[in-house]
């Protein structure tokens, strides 16, 4: 018998819902393994929705071990992957979702199983965006399009549209997104509004704001984030942090130190409260920028290195947020060779792209660095100056 974990930390409503669901095991006869597993899977779903991801995966795994049905196993892996996605464990999520897909393909897919296959493809696509795999994401979306006409569940359709938005971001490497990004974002928002679900609507506003940010339309970006804040009302810390951190980044890109500081302080509190290490990395990056701008270079370097370490661990494509402040510090400290190593990473194809003049300076610095030249200072100065001119530092 799989015991219910300690759920005393959850809200009273959630506890009641989970306990009532769990009690249904008593109504199932002995030897009815499938029915017991169905109850347990429902409990696991509720645990996952309540944020108890480790515990929900423990339940899914329990059922996975006992099941002989390939489709059921694939569905459980899909749920495990979604649960890892929710915890920003994207690498594992990506691996597990690909495995779920592989299992689905081993099973005989009937028309009635298409929605499940579609959901698996969606989870897999989502994980591949965060694992920065544009080609794979594109393949998955192409396959999803072929099944899309047969999908009637509006929430599943919405998730597909969200994945399409992610594809636009990744394809353009978060730089100067085409008009298509905004058109699609607005379309997604209209559909989200129809759901009347605060989380879906907030996600749509944040997504649209994010698209405006990477078109460098800062005012509109912040207005969209503000509406997202109204819907969020201090719920869904993950999304709240996205909106807060990138509001800070929007001010940072306008060289507004005081407003960047204000939003960084707000996001720092939420990142610490929710123990979201990935976003703590971005908070450190913004703190590094604020300190570098105020010439507090010792603090700036410390924050930038902390942020860099975390962002690298989480494979955050916005690594530049840490690197440019760090380059400024290393320039002042005459540590040109070390700066070359960080500068090299800015050209990584999985990371955010930059305007061409800035790319040219970064590439010139890189060529000089790999050759071991001794006039790196001029190249590094050029990178930092161009980053300042283009609002990336």
């Amino acid at each position: 018998m799989k015991l219910l974990p300690d759920i005393s930390g959850l809200s009273a409503d959630a506890q009641t819902l989970i306990r009532n669901s769990y009690r249904q095991i008593g109504e199932v006869g002995d030897g009815e393994l499938d029915e017991v597993n169905a109850v347990l899977e429902n409990v696991a779903d509720l645990l996952d929705q309540s944020g108890m991801h480790n515990e929900s995966r423990d339940f899914y795994n329990h059922i996975y071990i006992q099941s002989n049905d390939l489709l059921a196993k694939a569905r459980l892996l899909r749920k495990i992957s979604a649960s890892f996605n929710a915890q920003r464990e994207y690498q594992i999520a990506q691996q597990v979702s690909e495995e779920a897909l592989l299992l689905m393909r081993q099973a005989h897919i009937l028309t009635e199983n298409i929605p499940e296959l579609f959901e698996t493809l969606t989870v897999c696509a989502y994980a591949n965006y965060f694992a920065s795999k544009p080609k794979r994401l594109h393949q998955l979306i192409a396959e999803m399009r072929s099944y899309f006409p047969g999908i009637s569940d509006q929430s599943v359709r919405l998730r597909f549209y969200f994945v399409v938005m992610l594809n636009i971001l990744l394809r353009n490497r978060w730089y100067m997104l085409p008009e298509e990004a905004i058109t699609h974002g607005e379309f997604y928002l209209q559909l989200a509004l129809e759901t009347k679900n605060w989380n879906t609507i907030a996600t749509a506003y944040s997504g649209l704001a994010f698209c405006h940010l990477w078109r460098e339309e800062f005012e509109v970006c912040r207005k969209k984030f503000e509406v997202a804040f109204d819907y969020l009302q201090n719920r869904n810390y993950d999304l709240l942090l996205t909106a807060q951190v990138y509001t800070a980044v929007s001010f940072r890109m306008q060289n507004n130190i005081s407003m960047t500081e204000r939003w960084t302080a707000i996001s720092k509190e939420v990142a610490e409260k929710s123990n979201n290490i990935n976003y703590q990395g971005l908070v450190y990056a913004n703190l590094a920028w604020i300190n570098a701008k105020r010439n507090n270079l010792l603090y700036a370097e410390e924050f930038a290195k902390k942020g860099f370490e975390i962002c690298l661990t989480f494979r955050n494509p916005m690594l530049y947020l840490c690197i440019f402040p760090l380059l400024k510090c290393l320039l002042k400290g005459s540590q040109y060779d070390d700066a070359g190593g960080y500068n090299f990473l800015l050209l990584h194809p999985s990371l955010k792209s930059f305007p061409e003049p800035l790319n040219e300076k970064i590439s010139a610095m890189n060529a000089a660095w790999v050759e071991g030249r001794n006039d790196l200072r001029c190249y590094l100065e050029d990178v930092v100056t161009e980053a300042e001119l283009s609002n990336y530092f």
Binding site: A131, G340, L345, L347, V370
Partner: protein
Amino acid sequence: MKKIRILHSRHSVGQALKNCLHEMNINDVDVLSDPQELVDGNEYYLTLLDSVLYKNYFPKSSASDFSLLVTSDEDPNISAALNAGAVSFINIAKGPAQFVLHIERMESKHADEPSELVRTFSDKTVHPSLLPVEVNNLTKKEIEILKMMLAGKHLKLIASETDTTYETVRTHVKRVYKKLGVMSASEAIIKAMKMNLDKK
């Protein structure tokens, strides 16, 4: 699981390449800067070799594939290295794009075959992603300190709460880092979270 090693005359370049691999979620990487440190290593599937060190390395060629790292397509060692069995040459002067592409190809060559994956999941075994991360032989004291780090306590506070000196706590922390294979507090905390140490 086989690893990658980078032998580069400049440690900063080796480290930058290691960071690039980290960005691709390839974490089993050794960086060496002295050819004397090179030994035949069956634990490596790929050696990335700085052209400057090519001649020192070549007599000690090992079982692993090797690729030559160059800063110009005109590098005089390229043809010799390719004739000697190098799988490719990688020009890093234009940034990491070519390097990343090459590694992706090598990785896919060494990836598990799909049939192997299907076999694994047809077994009634626990899915690998669900296996707990090993506590890596940490002692009771080390676990206690790691838990306190996870709770956001700094080392001086940990020393005062555990009634030990700051230096002793530092020694424990260094051992924790070594056992977990990490270099910093952030990495240790991330590992501790993966071990669910906060819930134990």
